[in-house]
Amino acid sequence: MAKKKKNKMKSIKKTKGQLGKKKETAREKMIGQTIGYRYDVNLLPDYKKLTPFLKKYIEHMGWDDLNWLEDVHMGYEEDRPAVFDRNANGWVTIPKKIKLPDNQQDRDMIARELLVKFQMSPNHPLVDLKKAYLKF
């Protein structure tokens, strides 16, 4: 007798419990963070890993540190490394030809550099919107 096909929907593992009700790891308890992010939001930048571009950017802006870029980290989108662009409200994927280091601090610095270059580029998606809707 032919076996009945299993219902695909049933095979999807349902995540039990809600966030905040799961058992926390020691680190999560310490930093007051639980899962649900695509990166460690509370990871503080290691300033020894600053890239020359970022040093130049900080100097150009007249800031004392990374400023808003402290909150930027390398995450993932569709299983590929990506950075969230708050201006375009979406994830921007890292092309395959860019080889990323294993260290998260180094990866975060690359993420920051790429994001600044992307946001300041005339090819950024907001440029078209700005051209269409600019009021003043």
Binding site: M9, I12, T15, Q18, L19, G20, K21, K29, M30, I31, G32, Q33, T34, I35, G36, V41, N42, L44, F53, K56, Y57, H60, M61, G62, W63, D64, D65, N67, W68, D71, E77, E78, V83, D85, R86, A88, G90, W91, V92, T93, I94, P95, K97, I98, L114, V116, K117, F118, Q119, M120, S121, P122, N123, H124, P125, L126, V127, K130, L134, F136
Partner: protein, 284 residues
């Protein structure tokens, strides 16, 4: 990003002045271009020189005229602008999206320096409600006291008040740092989602009420904790970060950071589940 198609035929909505775009297609995957040129300012903004300085007296201007004049000066390359006689006017210095050294010689009214992305602002007086609301990046220093909703919904940058602040400081904060040298009112960090708030003095009742995430550091007494705000032990990382940020803020050099109270979300109000958006789509 969805494609935007404009319908050729003028519809009733269009004739009424409304947009008639039709959203088509799926979400487009965007990639970084590794060969992107070095550029430090947004398209359509100004590359200014900090050494080029000017003064602007706004006594006889309304806020719109003053803001337009600031923009005009930036387009001429002025990187340091001193605003004279702000006289508590509302919404001054808003929407500045490039680097700039902006100095207000006096006090600001409501919604001062809102939605800024990059400038360094100094206010040599007080500020009213919702100062630096929706700030994206940069540094804002208030030399005296600030009103309620200080740094409402800020997303990035450093917002510093050397005096005391009113209620609901950092309400709906989504990133960046708010540093207060004096005391703070009730509901500080209300519904904050990310970022850090530092209060060197005392803080009022309902601290961190309904906060989803983020961290609040308090140097003085706490009126009471809000719903789901809990104390967490200070770590070496916290002290390192505080030492660095207080140096940037130029306050609190004599504060014993190890004795500060760290407050985080208890996560009991997190009622959404852990499914990723893609899994959600599959389940529908």
């Amino acid at each position: 990003m969805a494609n935007l198609k404009t319908t050729a035929k003028k519809t009733k909505a269009q004739s009424m002045g409304l947009h008639t775009e039709v959203l088509t297609g799926k979400t487009q995957q965007k990639f970084f271009n590794p060969d992107e040129a070095e550029n430090f300012f947004y398209w359509g903004t100004h590359n200014v020189d900090f050494n080029k300085r000017t003064e602007l007296d706004v006594m006889d201007m309304d806020c719109r005229q003053a803001n337009n004049k600031i923009d005009e000066l930036m387009s001429e390359g002025y990187g340091t602008i001193v605003i004279k006689n702000p006289q508590g006017k509302h919404s001054l210095g808003v929407g500045i999206l490039n680097k700039l050294n902006l100095i207000f010689e006096g006090s600001l009214g409501y919604f001062g320096v809102g939605s800024i992305d990059g400038p360094i602002v100094t206010v040599n007086g007080r500020v009213g409600w919702s100062c630096a609301e929706n700030m994206m990046a940069g540094k804002v220093v208030i030399e005296k006291n600030a009103g309620s909703c200080f740094g409402a919904a800020i997303r990035g940058g450093d917002l510093i008040c050397k005096g005391s602040v009113g209620a609901r400081t950092g309400i709906d904060q989504k990133g960046g740092s708010i540093i207060v040298g004096g005391d703070a009112g009730a509901f500080t960090g209300f519904m904050m989602q990310r970022g850090r708030i530092v209060i060197l003095g005392d803080v009022g009742i309902n601290l961190g009420d309904s906060m989803y995430d983020g961290t609040i550091y308090v140097g003085g007494k706490i009126g009471s904790f809000g719903s789901d705000a809990v104390e967490s032990p200070m770590t070496k990382n916290d002290i390192e970060w505080l030492t660095r940020k207080l140096k940037v803020a130029e306050i609190g050099s004599n504060v014993d950071l190890s004795k500060m109270t760290k407050v985080v979300a208890g996560k009991k109000l997190w009622n959404y589940d852990a499914l990723e958006p893609t899994e959600r789509k599959g389940a529908i």
